[in-house]
């Protein structure tokens, strides 16, 4: 408990405030993040800028230090929870500002796999970027993916796997799509730490996404292509 001079968030200039938010995410301070999000919004920041410049930028730092063995899972979970607090404020606003959703995505972790920290981040970022996201959670069978794709009339299927023992299940899902002749109705994006480009190609996915930011960029790119193809020549 360091009680050196307390910070008054509302007294910080924009730039200093965003840097303070990066620190507060790093320390997993949810209430402070929520307060700061509200301050930036009151100062006229767009929800999208708050999301990308404050929250996503802060989470990127957390991600790097996790990779480098400086932070461990407890800290990452706290940071993700603080980010979620901020997202709770931004989400309704992002939905208002963006007109029609950029696209619809169904995302979930595959059968037998319970890792969801990364998948949740991807879902949050996709929503932030204007996609409508249906999150199926963990441990999803082919049937669950297929039902959701149909019910939601989704454009994109996102699958996450963190285990070498569960990642082959992605192929089971894609093969089923192919068997049912609906593979080309969807953009299939896959991600998770043990995957790579080569694996994604081998199982017939459209793309491998290294992280949440890449997932958003890739999804946008494929949606743009889809619209171009649909447009009359």
């Amino acid at each position: 408990m360091a009680d050196e001079e307390d910070i008054i968030l509302s007294e910080l200039e924009d730039e200093e405030l965003t840097l303070q938010m990066h620190d507060d995410l790093y320390d997993g301070l949810k209430e402070e993040i929520e307060e700061a999000v509200n301050i930036l919004l009151a100062r006229g920041w767009t929800p999208y800028d708050v999301l990308t410049k404050a929250l996503v930028a802060g989470m990127t730092i957390v991600g790097i230090d996790f990779r480098d063995g400086i932070l461990f899972v407890p800290e990452v979970l706290l940071a993700a929870n603080a980010m979620k607090g901020g997202m709770g404020i931004l989400k309704p606003l992002l939905a208002e500002t963006g007109a029609a959703p950029v696209g619809k995505m169904v995302i979930g972790t595959v059968k037998g796999d319970i890792h969801d920290i990364g998948k949740n981040l991807v879902a949050m970022m996709m929503e932030g970027a204007g996609f409508e996201v249906t999150d199926l959670g963990i441990n999803n069978s082919v049937e669950k993916y297929l039902d959701a794709l149909e019910n939601e009339k989704a454009d994109i299927l996102g699958m996450s796997a963190l285990l070498t023992t569960t990642m082959p299940y992605m192929k089971v899902v894609i093969d089923t799509l192919t068997e049912k002749n609906i593979r080309n109705d969807f953009i299939v994006l896959v991600g998770g730490a043990p995957l790579n480009e080569e694996f994604s190609k081998a199982i017939g996915a459209d793309a491998y996404c290294r992280d949440a930011a890449v997932a958003v960029e890739t999804a946008k790119e494929f949606m743009a292509r889809k619209h171009n193809q649909a447009a009359p020549q």
Partner: protein, 338 residues
């Protein structure tokens, strides 16, 4: 009465434990995402073959096919009501294999993590974790295991909960953690932290150590960390046979039997007395480990350099015990909650 593991340890310098469960079952046709524990009931013959493979390769200790046999993990397969039954059957098959062998073998009841994050970071309470381990322990005990064997644990509280579950079942136990994240467990526990955790436990394990993780070099660095603490308990080393690679639709581990033989000898030199494999370790690897342990005299404790030269580099420069771990970044420092 002393338990069988303690008895065996009294007569032998080192014991060979078993290898991979998952890898072997996948090779027998288990599908990705399916529960290995359901096979205890559906394919008892294959589970017996799994155990027999380790026994024939020279293992003194083998683990039951119950790694995911707690209520929380079985729930993923709608089998959370079958904890007692599936654990009991797995243990009975093991007991049978051991008793038929004519050798003095230890059947160890595997208990993997619940897969949930404990409070306050997650939702699992200490009490319900204890309840889950205890429930599983009773099933394993009923089926006739000699010792309980918690493995791949990453959170200190979950390790304590496993100890408590074993105590409630009145069973001797061993427990290993997985040091898979920059030389620590994913929750940030170092080898030295684990040694301290054990010291403070009321119901102590017979042995403790490391299993799974990233590679055999990392695992031995962790074992050196334990022996530096001079523990009273026996040290356990159960490392993977290399690193998993996806080749033609299935997972392949790149560690050769020869390399695992060198790993086994080095593990013993590092201070481990119970030595085995984990993911990717087949009976071929075990045979090579047994032969190497029998044919090589005990040597001096290897240095980190010798380990990395023989077995390959470490996944991180520091494991958090040498004072050289990278530091958290500077924050404005004006507030911190501890």
């Amino acid at each position: 009465m002393t338990d069988r593991l303690t008895q065996l340890l009294a007569t032998r310098d080192w014991l060979l434990a078993d290898g991979a469960t998952g890898t072997t079952l996948f090779n027998m046709g288990l599908q990705s995402g399916d529960s290995p524990e359901l096979w205890n009931d559906q394919h008892p013959d294959r589970i017996a073959a799994l155990y027999q493979g380790a026994v024939d390769a020279g293992s003194d200790i083998f683990l039951t096919n119950t790694f995911g046999g707690n209520a929380s993990r079985l729930k993923l397969h709608d089998a959370e009501k079958r904890v007692g039954e599936l654990n009991r059957i797995a243990a009975e098959i093991g007991r049978n294999v051991a008793d038929k062998s004519g050798r003095d073998l230890v059947v160890a009841g595997s208990m993997g993590p619940t897969g949930e994050i404990m409070e306050p970071m997650g939702t699992l309470t200490f009490a319900s974790a204890v309840e889950m381990f205890h429930e599983q322990a009773e099933g394993l005990k009923e089926g006739g295991v000699d010792v309980l064997w918690a493995e791949t644990i990453s959170a200190p509280d979950e390790y304590r909960a496993a100890a408590e579950g074993a105590r409630l079942a009145n069973m001797p136990w061993c427990g290993t953690m997985s040091f898979d994240t920059s030389g620590r467990t994913m929750m940030g526990v170092t080898s030295a932290d684990m040694a301290k955790l054990i010291e403070k436990l009321d119901y102590k394990p017979i042995g403790y150590g490391a299993n799974c993780g990233v590679g055999s070099s990392d695992l031995l660095r962790t074992v050196l960390g334990f022996s530096a603490q001079g523990p009273e308990q026996v040290i356990i080393a159960k490392g993977n046979a290399g690193i998993p690679k996806y080749v033609d639709g299935h997972i392949h581990y790149d560690g050769t039997p020869e390399l695992m033989g060198e790993y086994a000898v080095m593990a013993r030199d590092c201070g481990a007395r119970i030595i085995g494999g984990c993911c990717g370790t087949t009976p071929k690897h075990l045979e090579s480990m047994r032969a190497a342990l029998e044919n090589t005299p005990i040597g001096p404790r290897p240095t980190l350099e010798q380990i990395s030269t023989t077995l390959g580099g470490f996944s991180s420069t520091s494991d958090g015990t040498d004072g050289n771990a990278p530091k958290a970044r500077e924050r404005s420092g004006r507030r911190r909650r501890t």
